[in-house]
């Protein structure tokens, strides 16, 4: 295991500005910590109790106390001003920003683009173009948090909030839900996928975009003159259907509720476990028995309420009809098949 980096990568200009402010605060904090604790340790050693030693006698020192007040005040006002200016630039999107709608719901993220496409779990944005996310929640408060961009905003039901950014590093960036929202809060993850111009054009035409490398690996290739086809090339290596399915399982939020029986792979137990179910019979709520084959899986993914398993009073699973392509469906079924 390698020791992790102290900070996430800075993938926007705002994040770079943020870093300088953060580093300044870090420096000033270390200075004051050493000042206070160093003085304390020095006094502890120098003035430890000894036989016959006389103590000083003074009650206060007005000049010193005035300094205690004045110096921190000036410093803090400076920090405030700097913080506010960075905040301000993080809050004001350019007028031409591309708008994408984000809907949070327990426990997945849904993204709606202005060309009518909808994706779940993966947010696709173009490289080097300002993007404004207009966000709301369907149920409780969530929080859209992209550490690599240093932006975050609560996603509140009944109102709209927004964040904006201009991504400088292509590839996948981690997105978290930052506001506690219930059972699968920690699995309400998403990937923000930054696409180069060519990929973005393809995405807009409705093409499926394969998995992209982690943005942290792309940081070295931040130079935007790099040949975009290279990143492309990395993605067309043959990958087994089940492996693709595993990616679908994660990105579409299945993992928030279903266990895959794989201890390294998380998975909650809101819905039934999917490990080793394929081809076996299962008892339904209405007393019938059903064989869980491909068409069964397809049906319950598209219409979750069509077959209620015994022990489940109602289905809370949202329908994935229209939100999951045939290819994804096939790979997902292949993945479930592969689970032992």
């Amino acid at each position: 295991m390698q020791f992790p980096n102290l900070m996430p990568i800075a993938a926007t200009d705002a994040a770079v500005r943020w870093n300088s402010l953060y580093n300044f605060l870090l420096g000033i904090s270390v200075f004051f910590f050493v000042l206070v604790i160093g003085a304390m340790i020095l006094f502890i050693i120098k003035y430890r109790a000894r036989e016959g030693a006389k103590t000083f006698y003074f009650r206060d020192h007005h000049f010193l106390e005035a300094c205690f007040i004045a110096i921190p005040t000036i410093l803090l006002l400076g920090i405030f001003g700097w913080g506010y200016s960075v905040y301000n630039s993080m809050m004001r999107p350019p007028a031409d920003a591309l708008e994408i709608h984000v809907i949070g719901k327990q426990w997945l993220w849904q993204f709606q683009y202005d060309n009518g496409r909808t994706t779940i779990g993966n947010l696709y944005v173009p490289l080097n173009k300002p993007v404004k996310l207009i966000m709301t929640s369907q149920d409780v408060i969530h929080d859209f948090f992209i550490p690599n961009f240093r932006v975050k905003s609560d996603v509140v039901p009944g109102m709209y909030t927004s964040v904006w950014f201009e991504a400088r590093v292509p590839g996948e960036h981690q997105v978290f839900c930052g506001m506690y929202c219930g059972t699968s809060h920690s699995q309400m993850l998403a990937k923000l996928v930054v696409l180069n111009d060519q990929q973005w054009a393809e995405f807009q035409r409705g093409k499926k975009i394969g998995p992209q490398p982690d943005a942290r690996l792309n940081l070295a290739a931040e130079d935007t003159t790099a040949d975009p086809s290279e990143a492309q090339a990395a993605t067309i290596e043959p990958v087994s259907l089940a492996t693709q399915g595993r990616a679908v399982f994660e990105t579409k939020g299945c993992v928030s509720c279903h266990s895959a029986g794989d201890p390294t792979h998380g998975g909650a137990n809101i819905g039934p476990s999917l490990a080793g179910i394929f081809g076996k019979n299962a008892a339904l709520q209405d007393g019938q028995t059903i064989r869980r084959d491909e068409s069964y899986l397809r049906q319950v993914i598209e219409q979750p309420q069509s077959h209620l398993l015994k022990g489940y009073q109602q289905s809370v699973m949202p329908t994935f009809k229209g939100l999951i392509s045939e290819t994804e469906m096939n790979s997902l079924i292949a993945y479930i098949k592969s689970l032992k």
């Binding site: 708008e99 060309n115 068409s295 397809r298 219409q303 309420q305 109602q314 329908t319 392509s325």
Partner: protein
Amino acid sequence: MSNNDHSNHPHHNQDHSHHHIVSTKTALTVAGSLFFLTVLTVVVSRVDLGVWNFPVAMLVATVKALLVMMFFMDLIHDAPENSVIFGAGFLFLVIFFILTASDLFFRGNVYVKAGTPLVATSGRSSLKNPWISTPELVSHGKELFSQNCVTCHGPEGLGNGVAAAGYNPPPRNFHSQTGWINGRKPSNIFKTLKEGIPGSGMASFGTLPIDDRWALAAYVVSLNSERPASDTQEDVAKIGYDLKTGLAAGGARQEEKTIPIEFAIERMAVAEPAPAHGALGANERGFTSVGGQLYQARCAQCHGEHGEGGVRVRSLGGMPKAYITTAPLLANRESLKSADAFNHVVENGLTGREMPGSADLSGGELSELYTHVKWLAGQLH
């Protein structure tokens, strides 16, 4: 009480004759002033002072409160620190209000203001003469077809998809030459995609981008061995496609946008008293079941508290002054005959009838809602 006890407390019954006592005369005068001020504030509230009504009412109330504090509670003769203490309570209340207001009254309107489109999409097609089929268009359409249509229409477009059995009338077989309700030309198919076919399982695919819809139309046309006649300019104009600007269907902006269901409802429903259904307990089921709550939140505003209809609903599209009146949710309606049909209508809405789709509902919620609506329908005679 024993004398012994008594002696331990030599200071008991210290009289506090120095303590001020409110005289009856003062009390009556104050009460009289309070009565007068009450009448005054009622009278003033009847006069329109514009923005000043509220400050005046608060001023009068504060004078009244001060009178009570100063004379009934005798704060003017009390230790000054008690006035400070009591005043601090009001001071911190004011701080509480002002700083809370600094948020809620100053929230930036992130969302576009009313009157402008909610989603700034352009209804413009990037294709030139998009109704003319090209091989690229057909192959793009094929891809879209496999994503959007095969469930019902089947992989070859024979109308035999996995979900086909649930629909009456059955999904269209694209290889047949007859029975096409809107016609077979690309522009006809574009229209079907845009509006759906009311009364059937064919929903509106108006959420697809315009180019995608043209691509689908081209693909569907290519499936049939017998080509339909080509589109004329009139055909294209009929579906509202502006040849000059490339804008699809007049008011394309309205056509293209998708808005959250709550917004749609809020903007559409018009205050109109629903017919009284006194016999039906509004809350018997209304708030106890998930379906009932969903119904109240999303449907009741247009369909009535009990599904009785009769509510005037404003059109959101090109004719903002037009209304339609909702009909009762009777059990013999097509959409209430099967869960699938119901889900279809709820998820996709009914284009042309101002019924917005609620695609965000989960399967569980849909089935709860269906149960509730069926129950409501059963109550209507």
